[in-house]
Amino acid sequence: MNLQMVWVLLEKEFRLEFRKPSAFNGIILYVVSTIFISYLCFKHIVDPQAWTALFWIILLFASVNAAAKSFIQDSKAVMLYYYTVAGAAEVIVAKIIYNCLLFCVVGLLSYLFYSIFIGNLIQNQGLFIGALGLGCIGISGLLTLVSAIAAKTQNGTGLMAILSFPLLMPLLLTLIKLTNYAVQGIAFSVCAKYLVVLGMMDIIVLSLSYLLFPYLWKD
């Protein structure tokens, strides 16, 4: 794997994003309007379980939408160009890093807006942010590969959710568990076990994406 190539591809993703920020703005607008609709429905949520569930469902849908464009947006010609200048490993690593950063930003912004409108029940901020970061790594690894799969089908975006939800469950349930602990303000040492599980799942998901992507990309 050529790290320089990864950097070039990553730079290209960012440059595209800055040149045409409508996609990024779209995701942010999606999150904000979903949170606002939830606010109009629920007003303030004081029940920790409902708070956690709603937050993760909003983030889940936002990230599926955000990831869907990572391969579907690239036309056949652009993909062909990648093949000639870079290897499969570089492309998938660059896309995963980019998606991971994107999800972290979207996650933090959602948390901000969610706190403003729905209320903030988190007592252990460090634990929650840590879990969010680790979760973003795993979710981006999984969704990037699934979006590469979905891009090969006729109705890509529709399949995205169906294909990814069952596979996301292990990650999501661990994240919800950790969020519940963060809401209760339980110390780091008690939930270290879950952070380790989350980290292990991240490693599994990332290595699977890295190993399987080369089989997806030739047409």
Binding site: L145, T153, L167, T174, Y194, V197, M201, I204, L208, L216
Partner: protein, 223 residues
């Protein structure tokens, strides 16, 4: 006859399973009582499903190493047959749960794991249907199959161990049941043959489905 021995064995063992399963002596445990017989008809479904999904996994990995149509057909049909057994497992379990736990569905790690597994493999079938090109379909489905299997193992095998959530199932979390301590001699005498019988039946159905699928492809080619 040489290649059909397992079908004969399957039929004999299935008859034995049904007869001995309903008439045989079973230990009388609290809560379970006579429903303990579901061991032969519910637990065996999961064994068969896992066997078939493992076959599909192996064939998918082999397909990615060296593509050939036979492997793709085996892997796709193994998933189909495995799904059928999985759904039967959910139905037999749900019916049993209604009369033992008092609800069709409970929030139990094993139930959730089973449901997510079935959803993932239904998504696999849908994925296959939404790609037309044969070779591309086979390759992409193989990739998804491998990913789904690994995540299923993570979900069913690893998470419950770490989170320490006990299942309601017999033998788990201090419930009376047929774990290694009290899997009694009479139960074993039927349970092990029953597992073999259902797996053989699954393989037989798989064999038939592979053959019809190949014939279908031949007919389509000639047209």
């Amino acid at each position: 006859m040489k290649q059909n021995w397992y079908k004969v064995l399957a039929v004999i063992l299935l008859i034995y399973t049904v007869v001995a399963g309903f008439l045989g002596e079973v230990p009388h445990l609290p809560i379970l009582h006579e429903t303990i017989r579901n061991l032969y008809f519910h637990v065996t479904m999961w064994f068969t499903m896992m066997t078939l999904f493992s076959i599909a996994l192996v064939q998918s990995i082999l397909y990615l190493r060296s593509p050939n149509e036979h492997r793709d057909i085996v892997s796709a049909q193994a998933v189909n047959v495995g799904l059928a057994f999985g759904i039967l497992g959910l139905l037999t379990g749900s019916l049993w749960a209604k009369y033992t736990w008092g609800a069709w569905w409970t929030n139990d790690p094993q139930l959730n794991g089973a449901a997510i597994t079935i959803l993932a493999y239904l998504a696999y079938s849908l994925l296959r249907k939404s790609i037309d090109d044969g070779e591309k379909k086979a390759r992409i489905a193989a990739v998804y199959n491998i990913f789904a299997f690994v995540m299923m193992v993570v979900f069913i095998g690893i998470i419950p161990k770490f989170t320490g959530v006990d299942s309601l199932h017999p033998g788990k979390g201090g419930n009376p049941g047929f774990n290694t301590y009290d899997l009694d001699k009479n139960l074993r005498l039927v349970f092990y043959p029953a597992v073999l019988a259902w797996i053989l039946l699954g393989l037989w159905i798989l064999n038939l489905r592979i053959r019809t699928q190949k014939l279908n492809l031949l007919i389509n080619d000639e047209q």
